[in-house]
């Protein structure tokens, strides 16, 4: 009798263990898809050094041979490090150039210092259908303040009437499912807040993103994502466009290398969600790459 009970206990424990730990690994290979974040967080005590680059317009008015398909320009460059505190919690710090601009209006924040964090709340297993991760980001601009005369009120962001006007924030809920070893899908409800905007612009923006990854061989995967702001102001009539990217991802050990094309000029959420003003259909897409190297500390 005792023997049977013991056997039962062992079976039940191993079964729950099986269900509890049979996680869906690598829904995405990287912490970012192209423009959007992914549900992935870093393993505990792992540091990820990241470099991302977005060149100038590939085609259209400012692209083609005269600019060597945009390679003569660097629309945005981000360099940063992320660190896994636990397997579910990571923080990151990045410096980027910033690329936002309102059509026929002021430029957005430049010289960006971004602090971000991600916390994985729920992890897909045999019983749990999805992975959910919370993501937050605060961006600070260290750009020089443009001085103005007391009675002059220039309509430029860099005037920074208050110190807080140098900040922008973004929070996201990342919900993903790995449907098969080769196919993952993610949706990204998100809210972006900029403390200072142009006179006809909006401070808070809700947006929805979608992202997917298709593994095509042991090493290569195709990734794609798109972000759609919900806004009456951010329409194609006002020269705003959804940020759409497609890329080829290559994973070799601790490296993830990605080559992509996207119409978004900016890299950070606080920058590309409010400010994607370039249009795929006018050739205003650009070559970009992201390199990620993980170090176990």
């Amino acid at each position: 009798m005792n023997h049977i009970t013991l056997t039962l206990v062992v079976v039940v424990v191993s079964l729950t263990g099986l269900f509890g730990q049979n996680y869906a690994y690598q829904t995405f290979k990287d912490r970012r898809v192209i423009n959007t974040q992914s549900v992935e967080t870093l393993p505990a005590r792992t540091m990820d050094i990241r470099i991302a680059h977005r060149f100038g317009d590939f085609a259209g008015r400012n692209g083609g041979e005269p600019t060597f398909f945009g390679l003569e320009f660097a629309e945005d460059v981000a360099i940063g490090a992320e660190y896994g505190i636990t397997d579910n919690l990571m923080v990151g710090f990045h410096r980027s150039k910033g690329a936002g601009v309102v059509p026929n209006g002021p430029s957005g924040l430049r010289q960006l210092w971004t602090l971000n964090g991600k916390y994985r709340v729920l992890r897909q297993t045999d019983l749990v259908p999805i992975t959910i991760t919370l993501s937050g980001m605060t961006t600070f601009s260290s750009a020089q303040q443009v001085e103005v005369q007391p009675d002059d009120a220039p309509s430029i962001i860099q005037n920074f009437p208050e110190f807080g006007h140098r900040f922008a924030h973004n929070v996201q809920l990342l919900i993903a499912r790995k449907f098969s070893p080769a196919f993952s899908l993610q949706i990204i409800p998100s809210y972006t807040h900029r403390n200072l905007v142009a006179f006809n612009d909006e401070n808070g923006i809700f947006s929805m993103g979608v992202a997917t990854r298709v593994q095509i061989s042991k090493v290569f995967g195709i990734v794609a994502d798109a972000t759609f702001p919900f806004s009456d102001f951010r329409t194609s009539d006002n020269n705003f466009y959804p940020a759409i990217g497609i890329g080829l991802e290559m994973e070799t050990g601790g490296h993830v290398f990605q080559v992509n094309f996207t119409n978004a000029t900016a890299i950070m959420e606080t920058d590309y969600i409010p400010y994607t003003t370039s249009n795929w259909l006018e050739g205003q897409y650009r070559l970009g790459f992201t390199i990620s190297r993980q170090f176990r500390l």
Binding site: R61, N62, G63, G64, P66, T67, E72, I85, T86, L89, V91, V101, N104, G105, P106, S107, R110, L115, G117, G136, T138, F140, A143, Q144, V146, V148, A153, P154, S155, I156, I157, Q158, N159, P161, E162, F163, G164, H165, R166, F167, H169, H193, N195, L196, V197, A198, F199, N200, D201, N203, G204
Partner: protein, 137 residues
């Protein structure tokens, strides 16, 4: 190790929370106002041929910048300017946003010997040219 983890976690949360209250506002810039009218446009001759071309050639359409083959627009002749005039980009970047460090033209990274800002006199000519509807001659 656990204490270290909890410590760093608490530190991160404190840092994030401390930046939030001091850094959240919802402000809008004032509507951009046209340049103050220092001169009366009735007294200023402002056509492309008479004086605007000279300003543009000297401050925009010079080698390495807005000339043929540059990939960033050829502004050395009247037809090359039509796009940016009609889209409003010319007025926006030369007049309304001229103090913006990124989009204001001429730019802060203009090469040595080329102006980073237009003079008041040049701005007056450009403003009067815009008000007159960008006449060629």
């Amino acid at each position: 190790m656990k204490a270290l983890l909890n410590g760093s976690l608490a530190f991160v949360i404190v840092v994030i929370l401390s930046t939030l209250p001091s850094s959240c506002s919802s402000d809008k810039l004032p509507e951009p106002a046209p340049l103050e009218e220092i001169v009366d446009c009735d007294t200023v001759v402002a056509t492309y041929v008479a004086n605007v071309k000279q300003i543009i050639d000297n401050t925009c359409a010079y080698s390495t910048c807005h000339v043929a083959g540059s990939g960033i627009g050829n502004y050395s002749n009247f037809s090359g300017l039509q796009n940016i005039i009609n889209s409003g980009r010319f007025e926006s970047r030369v007049i309304l946003q001229k103090d913006d460090q990124v989009v204001g033209m001429p730019p802060n990274y203009a090469p040595p010997g080329r102006p980073q800002d237009l003079t008041q006199e040049q701005l007056d000519v450009i403003r009067c040219w815009i008000e007159a509807g960008y006449p060629e001659s």
